[in-house]
Amino acid sequence: MSDAIRTSTPIFVRESMTADRAPPVSNAGPAAWIRDNLFPTPLSSVITLLALLFLAWALPPLVRWLFIDAIWSAPNGDLCRAPGAGACWAYVWQKLGFFMYGSYPREEVWRVNLVLLSGAALVVWMLWPDARGRGGAALAFFTVYPVLAFGILTGSAPFPTRWLPTSGTGQLLWAFLYVVLIAGAGTLFYTGRLTALAMAMIGFVAWAEIGAWWPTLGLSHVGTNLWGGIFVSLLVATVGIVFSLPIGIVLALGRRSQMPIVRFLSVLLIEFVRGVPLITVLVMANTMLPLFVPQDWSPDRLLRPLIGVALFSAVYMAEVVRGGLQAIPKGQYEGAMAVGLSWWQMMQLIVLPQALVTVIPGIVNSFIALFKDTTLVAIVGIFDFLKAVETARLDPVWAGPSISTSGYVFAAFFYFVFCFGMSRYSLMMERRHAAGRKR
């Protein structure tokens, strides 16, 4: 065999290079992209065609209505009522103040703006991943900020004034209390134990002082019956988050506690509130809360739904935090115990910091849910943003066929920008956290 190969002359030997073949049709370029992503299989092609048909049917009228035929400025609703007119943005622009602040006196809205802007600044600082002093910002947001915001918005002292001394003996008692609190706090700081308690004591003194000194600011009183609009929506959501987080943490710890009664009570509360709709919680807070307290304590009309919302979001927060607690490896607990930390120290120094960082996305997500749910406070007569849109719609100066939809689209845009922004933030934190884990 081998001889045969060696001796026989080759049948074909290529003596020149073949011509370059044409590059493959696909793999790169827009045509290939379209083929791979829009028409890879017959079924997929049909879907693409259907989708394109849908877009061709829906998009042009939408764009025309939203932008081209829209009325951007007009003194009243006449232009918007004309046939063929699109969205009435002039109306939204005109009513913007009402959407924003409700009936809050116009000359006092700087107070609302101040509170909103400072709150926004604190939140951004607190949530900015690489910012310095985030803990401080968080502390301020959960303690100092609510007190000052209450004082600025209502114009009343942000402290239960009935506690403040009126007589000479009362002042003596208060002075005594001050001495005890400050001295106690000093001792605690000096020994370096229970610093949280010490800070709470100092905080109480500062709080009372601010309350006593507040009237000298001379802010006029603005009753909550005048509050409304986006401002109230943000307020309800903020109060919900500020109070739901601590309560939620306590409930989550209670649910994972070794103590049967504590665990039972936590589970009972969590499952009860999670099992009923927010509307019923709000109605209950509105009608039954005044029954539970003595007659002269009847809570403010805005306060009642706030309590309902805080309770409602707290139990959902408890479940989020519980997820974080469960994600902490057992070794962390054992390590903390091995070092000899007490239960509180273990929670404060080891478990909660890790658990809370893990669940930041979950917290943000429940804040999104809470923010959307604030629209329901309208059921108990609170004038939130959506309610303001619903009310402004009826103004006979503007009333017309496109008014409702314009208002709704604007509201949808507002809620979308807020919620989508927050959900992107939560995604970003999730990725960062996952990346941190991998390393």
Partner: protein, 472 residues
């Protein structure tokens, strides 16, 4: 607790101490709660006395005096408040059930579309999910209620949809076609199976076409052969309009079953039993003798076919109740109210956006190795999906899916804003206002939702357990 840290002793010896502390904490907490409850009850009693708030449940038996527009049970202004409660409860359950079905279907489609390799479908699905998820449900309900109502004309200028309705003989013919087609399909499936063993194959399309033609022939000629005396053929659609759409709702003819209905019920019941028996037998046959049947198809056929036959045979005594304009409104037929439509639409679309995300996460959670291993074993694509991917995805999907179903049920209470008479609207809205019995009414309402939540959780947990076992 700091005792442990200071002494440096290991936990076990100090366990007794811990218990004492834990006990005292719990005792203190209980005491505090009892005291709070005591105070609250005292306040409630005093406040209720002061405000003349009724404390008994007697009001449930009193005459309601108001009307409700849509009810699954008979109700009038002379009925009691208790009956009004059941009207609301049934409406809540109905809306929740329908909403869950639609939300699941839309959610699964969108969730799969988000993972589709079709760029356009994936992007559209993403836009849908993000827009719907990030706007409040109430706003969407308002929008749908306005969007559904605004473009529709009044009842006198109603839109009518012609060509969608047939006279009864044609319905009979259609049913005959369905019966014949199903038999034909089964026959075809059987023949094809036999042929495959002998390495002969017939093109599926051709066979399907033959079956269809046979079915159509049978349908058009069948009634004549049987002697039902049908004058018109299958394609002779009735041109009159019997389906109406206006701002009072969608009106479609309602079948009046008469005595056929009773027979139908019996037959469906019997065939359900038969299908169950067959499934049981097929399982035994598979496990003992290794025989594999297309259980799903055959069971469906067992249930559907006899019912179709009964309908066909009785099609002459069947009638349709047509909606007609009388005075201001349409009467007769089946009516879907705009409020109900907007509510179901809003709830389904909203919940579907969450379900889509759950489904996507579930599918992504099944690792690619599973699919590859399945195809390495020679499983076909459908079998891979059915036996490998879906069971594993369902484990991840079911718990959050349960939550979404519960959320949908609870969110149906938003109907109070658009005037659909469900539990909260009827009971907490009107009845609470008329009677002032706030404690009783709010407690009953909350208890209802709690029971629904609990029942759903239990049912889903059982289902979940089955899925989890199947995995091992």
């Amino acid at each position: 607790m700091s005792v442990i840290g200071d002494s440096g002793r290991p936990p076990p010896p100090s366990r007794r101490k811990v218990d004492v502390k834990a006990l005292s904490i719990q005792f203190g907490l209980s005491l505090l709660l009892v005291w709070l409850a005591w105070e609250a009850v005292g306040n409630v009693a005093e406040n209720m006395r002061a405000r003349n708030i009724p404390t008994s449940f007697n009001f449930l038996g009193a005459t309601a005096g108001f009307d409700i527009n849509q009810s699954l049970i008979s109700y009038s202004a002379t009925s009691t408040y208790g009956r009004a409660f059941f009207v609301g409860l049934l409406n809540t359950l109905a809306v929740a059930a329908i909403g869950i079905v639609f939300a699941t279907i839309i959610g699964f489609i969108v969730g799969i579309a988000r993972l589709s390799q079709n760029w356009l479908a994936a992007k559209l699905a993403t836009i849908y999910v993000e827009v719907i998820r990030n706007t409040p449900l109430l706003l969407q309900l308002f929008f749908w209620y306005t969007a559904v109502l605004a473009p529709l004309p009044g009842p006198r200028q109603t839109l009518s949809l012609p060509g969608l309705s047939w006279r009864m003989p044609e319905v009979g013919a259609l049913m005959a076609a369905a019966v014949a087609g199903s038999f034909g399909f089964l026959l075809f499936a059987f023949v094809r199976r036999q042929l495959r063993r002998t390495n002969l194959s017939i093109p599926a399309y051709a066979a399907a076409a033959v079956c269809t033609v046979a079915a159509l022939l049978f349908a058009t000629l069948g009634p004549k052969v049987v002697g039902l005396g049908v004058s018109s053929g299958f394609f002779d659609l009735y041109t009159g309009a019997y389906v109406f759409l206006n701002n009072r709702g969608l009106f479609v003819p309602a079948p009046v079953l008469g005595d056929v209905g009773f027979r139908l019920l019996i037959v469906i019941g019997a065939s359900l039993l038969g299908a169950m028996a067959f499934a049981y037998w097929a399982k035994a046959a598979r496990e003992e003798r290794g025989l594999i049947f297309p259980v799903g198809w055959i069971s469906t056929a067992i249930v559907v076919l006899p019912a179709l036959v009964v309908l066909w045979l009785g099609s002459r005594s069947l009638a349709l109740d047509y909606p007609q304009l009388r005075g201001f409104n349409f009467n007769g037929g089946v009516r879907i109210y705009p409020e109900a439509f907007a509510l179901v639409l809003g709830l389904s679309l909203y919940t579907a956006s969450f379900i889509a995300e759950i489904v996507r996460a579930g599918i992504l959670s099944v690792s690619k190795g599973q699919t590859e291993a399945a195809s390495a074993l020679g499983l076909r694509r459908t079998a891979t999906l059915k036996l490998v991917v879906i069971p594993q995805a369902m484990r991840v999907v079911i718990p959050p899916l349960t939550n979404q179903y519960l959320n949908l049920t609870k969110n149906s209470s938003l109907a109070v804003f658009i005037g659909f008479p469900e539990l909260v609207q009827v009971f907490v809205g009107t009845v609470l206002n008329q009677t002032g019995a706030m404690i009783q009414i709010i407690s009953i309402t909350m208890a209802v939702y709690l029971v629904i939540s609990l029942a759903t959780s239990i049912a889903m947990n059982m289902f979940n357990k089955r899925m989890a076992l199947a995995e091992r």
